[in-house]
Subunit: 198 residues, 2 copies
DNA sequence: ACCTTTGCTTAACAGTGTTAGATTATTTAA
DNA sequence: TTAAATAATCTAACACTGTTAAGCAAAGGT
């Protein structure tokens, strides 16, 4: 009778081992290098037994994704508990979100579909910096001379870029926002930042 | 003599064919399905000849990325030319950026490392919506009752999320922003949006 | 006519996710 | 204790992947 439970506990343990081995590999070599056989090696089994615990490789990623969201929500609860003012709470929640993204970088990547492929971006041809330079210059042009420091321009530049790119990626990975809502967010944000510069 | 040029023109043509076949495949089946053999099939060659034109698969992606940035910068130049007021120009540039992202979705994905893997996100367990629901609720709490419509909450919610997630992905894909600049952008943006709600 | 270069293909290697079949070990029943 | 049944695990294979080496066949130059 009790041996049944022990066996179930063992099964649960190897299931966890599979997940732990997976993030280990990803932390060492990146998502691209994660393979069923490498996972099997790490848990000292052969590849096919993984399919007794997960339907396929995607199911492993899905479970890691799920655990990531659970972790994140716990960190947010903690952030709430450390303040009483709702505005402060909200700020702390977003900062917790930010910290989580870098503390659990690999989880964040799979949760929100952030690739890190383009490694040779820096030393590539200057074409790839063209659009961003154009934006930077135009922002510089708008900012009144008395405020026009490099740091200030950088701040505005990244604020613009973040909100636009963020909204785009959210739209591309999940498809739930309506067109009008997108336009609302976009115009509001852009207009808001432009006004804040004057 | 002239035949040399014809041959060079032909080589250039197949090079372009490789790139065109690649985006064709990606548009039909997604980045994940792009393979050297499929490209070869489409241009009616065998896989190894692709290596006469590109060092490897990554080189193809890099070239598509480069072309994407060139395309984007041209659209931005056009956006500039359609206005005279610098603020209007900047707004038009960001809107061009936005339009480009969806008109050339596949290019944008490879340019900025946006994955679309997580297909079964919607019908997955509710855990993945937990953190976002917490944020939504807290935002609702802060907004004064007279403004508190669902549309308004949604707008603020997505503005927050966009700017934070956008800044995170920018940091993860290119690593050039400093910590202080990140904190500056983050605190400014969050504070700004919170103030705009009151 | 021969030699060299070019264009292209076939074959192969090592790796990937995944499945079927065989093998071994463990539990259950008589 | 032995026999049957069940569970746990592995080997082998399939159809792919990116990439490279060897070979063939046609074209160009001398």
């Amino acid at each position: 009778m009790a041996s049944k439970e022990r066996i179930l506990r063992l099964k649960d343990e190897t299931r966890n081992n599979i997940l732990a081995a997976s993030i280990d590999i990803v932390k060492e070599e990146g998502w691209q290098a994660l393979s069923m056989r490498k996972i099997a090696d790490k848990i000292e089994y052969t590849a096919p037994i993984i399919y007794e615990y997960f339907a396929n490789k995607d199911a492993i990623l899905n479970e890691l994704t799920r655990q990531g969201f659970v972790k994140l929500s716990k960190l947010m609860e903690q952030a709430i508990s450390e303040h009483t003012d709702p505005a402060k709470q909200l700020e702390a929640m977003w900062l917790a979100y930010w910290d989580f993204a870098f503390a659990e970088k690999e989880l964040y990547q799979v949760m929100y579909g952030v690739e890190v492929n383009c490694c040779a971006m820096q030393n590539m041809c200057p074409d790839i910096q063209l659009p961003m330079n154009m934006l930077w210059d135009k922002i510089e042009e708008i900012i009144p001379v008395e405020k026009r420091t490099e740091k200030y321009i950088d701040t505005k530049y990244y604020t613009f870029w973040s909100v636009v790119h963020g909204l785009i990626s959210i739209n591309m990975t999940r498809k739930l926002t309506s067109d009008e809502l997108n336009q609302q967010v976009l115009k509001d944000a852009i207009g808001g930042i432009i006004n804040s510069m004057k």
